[in-house]
Symmetry: C2
Subunit: 315 residues, 2 copies
């Protein structure tokens, strides 16, 4: 992997991701959102993020993928069913609401007046936040009945939430993912994985970003999770596109390709054309991480980026 | 107000907003999200929504407004400070997270296995959802110190959350707003309000949508809230652009202009150039509602919409 800092790049320092974050804030690329991992985006950042998303989405719909644009939420019921709370409970977000009466509201206002914690009356609602862009699609695909013989593809762009406050600007709590999911045969799922593993690397070359591919190392929860993490690595079910962004020595996963085997098919009851449980596979691009990688390597001012990069994003 | 249904419009029925919703689902403009007020958007809907947002945003930045693009969240601390929990606690959403250990996780998994309610261990986090697009901007503007003599403008596009499940597709729980906020003198705030009250009506004409302007009727909480609602109407602090969408007899507020007087300035400590508390005013467009209004009046297929409307959205 190339670790040469291009002359026009933004500063970063090994082991200190806050150096890159502070440079982003100083240059006005991001604005403080009041807590770690929550930032407002400038016009420049947003224009890059939308360029990245359009680049990915056009490639996905070019394969005939159906577009779905979820809101940032899904049902709490579906989040429970998805398996995410088993593997990554520490990252998920449910939405709490106030359902009290006038008396409860007076208690709430008294706490606000006293600047006390006022959140004890919030009750979990039927809405939760999306942990990965593909999650709201499975129930929809399952409800349509058996898949066609060639399978089906969906392209999704969505805001995701993960509760992992960090000084690393690449580890935002709220960020966008663009995914292409395949639902169908085991062979089709593997072909989807292989196709996008190649395309992700092409994309990094097109955007002039140093990169490498490695098996993923997801933070499965607890002691049982350690076994799942090892199995994920050994079977190479999930591969990541790594780019040095906040830290040259600890590159950031900016995209991943993930074979779910028939795990999602079983959970959601998705049936292949031959009546067996469908296999699924997805590629996911981190819109914020890829945008940050571009700022890191090409500089704070997108107008000055290499012409080929600008063409890829905005032509 | 014109209530004539254009020949190419989508169906709706007085008192039955679900008729329009069902037509949107049948035509594939929206997809079921699993609970009332949560829908995935099709390629066609999203293309309209982005066209509407770009149209608004370009007008806002044409005034010299600074662009800010918040994520769907803000801090729980800032939500408490904003006053929203006093007036509309029933609509706000806080984000709950699991912060337990291995033993707590085993209890969680046992509940998932038994298909019981598993959310009792979710604890309110430092993150909440944005109730209106302008909310994350006030702390940023206050922190910059006294405003310039001419004031300042910010253009914001953001996902908002309001917990009001409804069969009316215009009352989504998660939707986007595009706002332009003015911070400065009382006269400047009033001029901003008047400017955008005119522009909102021009916009409706440009998009060939029947419309009317009326004082707002916000659902302030509880008995004390009734007084606030009356005062808001009598002072005409907030005016709404109403368009018949789901129901010809109960038109939908698709945009509003709102003078906060010095309420937000006081809450956030925003100081005008002369040292007094700043006044603020905002215009907010509901991206989803305007998009739905376009589908309602021009039909399910944007390719067939009037050329002038298509030009306004995508030229």
């Amino acid at each position: 992997m190339s670790t040469v800092l291009q002359p026009r790049g933004m500063p970063s320092e090994a082991g200190r991701p806050e150096v890159f974050r502070d440079a982003l804030l100083r240059e006005g690329v991001l604005l403080e959102g009041g807590t770690e991992g929550l930032y407002l985006r400038s016009a420049a950042f947003e224009s890059v993020a939308r360029g990245v998303e359009a680049l990915m989405r056009n490639q996905m719909t070019g394969d005939g993928a159906e577009e779905m644009h979820p809101p940032p939420g899904m049902t709490t019921r579906a989040l429970g069913r998805s398996g995410y709370m088993r593997s990554f409970p520490q990252l998920a977000g449910t939405v709490g609401c106030f359902c009290g009466d006038d008396a409860a509201h007076r208690r709430l206002v008294a706490k606000l007046d006293g600047e006390e914690d006022w959140t004890d009356q919030q009750a979990t609602s039927e809405v939760s936040l999306i942990p990965a862009a593909c999650y709201p699609t499975y129930a929809i695909i399952a409800a349509r009945g058996p898949l066609p013989p060639e399978g089906h593809r969906v392209a999704i762009a969505a805001w995701c939430f993960r509760h992992e406050p960090s000084p690393d600007p690449c580890r935002m709590q709220m960020f966008r993912q663009c995914e292409s999911v395949f639902y169908g045969s085991a062979d089709g799922a593997r072909a989807h994985r292989d196709l996008w593993l190649g395309r992700a690397q092409e994309m990094a070359r097109m955007l002039d970003l140093p990169h490498a591919v490695e098996p993923a190392n997801d933070p499965f929860f607890g002691r049982a999770g350690k076994l799942m993490a090892r199995s994920q690595r050994e079977l190479e079910l999930k591969m990541e596109l790594l780019i040095p962004v906040s830290d040259e020595t600890r590159p950031t996963a900016c995209a991943s390709v993930n074979m779910h085997l028939d795990g999602m098919g079983q959970k959601w009851g998705i049936v292949a054309s031959d009546g067996t449980v469908a296999h699924t596979a997805c590629v996911g691009y981190g819109i914020e991480r890829l945008s940050l990688a571009l700022f890191r390597h090409h500089g704070a001012e997108p107008r000055d980026w290499p012409a080929a990069v600008r063409t890829a994003l905005w032509s």
